[in-house]
Amino acid sequence: MNDLAVIKIQSDPKYLSVIRTVTAKVGELYGLSESGIKDVKLAVDEACSNVIKHTYRGDPHQPIVVKYRMTKKGFEVLIEDTGVKVQPESIEGRNLDEVRPGGLGVHLIKRAFDIFQFDQRKRKGNRLRLIRFRK
């Protein structure tokens, strides 16, 4: 079995702090730098918040599964849900020169991870694949 850690939460925002704690700890175990750990912790929090807000539309009783593993490419995080299909082309952060609420999360995710990709093979729901290359 690959070196793997998995956590499952329900889509209630109160569990985001658990996701952050686990992400930081796994990042530490996998040897990420201190700044790298901060960045991936925030990015995974943002990605799970997006699932709660957009995919489950605020329903706090749905499952979110987060899988972490270290591969040859780097630190990989898979975030799975069973909600409505995300249209990847519709995901766009705001222009950072524009001052308005919202649209920042996707920038924070892409800052931490080199690959941001939805796995189209997943039939029901979404699987977001994030990879931070080995530096």
Binding site: P13, E46, S49, R100, P101, G102, L104
Partner: protein, 109 residues
Amino acid sequence: MNVEVRDYQGMKVMALSGEIDMYSSPALREEMMGLLDQRVTPLLIDFRGVSYIDSSGIATFVEGLKRMMSYGGRLKLIGLLEEVREIFSFSKLDQVFEIYGSFEDALRR
């Protein structure tokens, strides 16, 4: 996250502590909007106890700032820890918000 509203030299201060995320930001928003309904100005936000902020927290402050600008109010953010300040900087919002290292600095300007 904990929010405490207090008076400091005749001004309103919101002292925050803990982590601001999608779970805690609605309570923060409610507290702040309650003050803005009264057209409070300036409003000082004491960030010294905040160890983490995500985009929902940032969005709450952007909304508050816009609301205050509509009535000529001033929102002053004080004592941001490096991890928090860095998010404002990354999002270029450090050029939009009034950010101060200490209460003394915030009161001088």
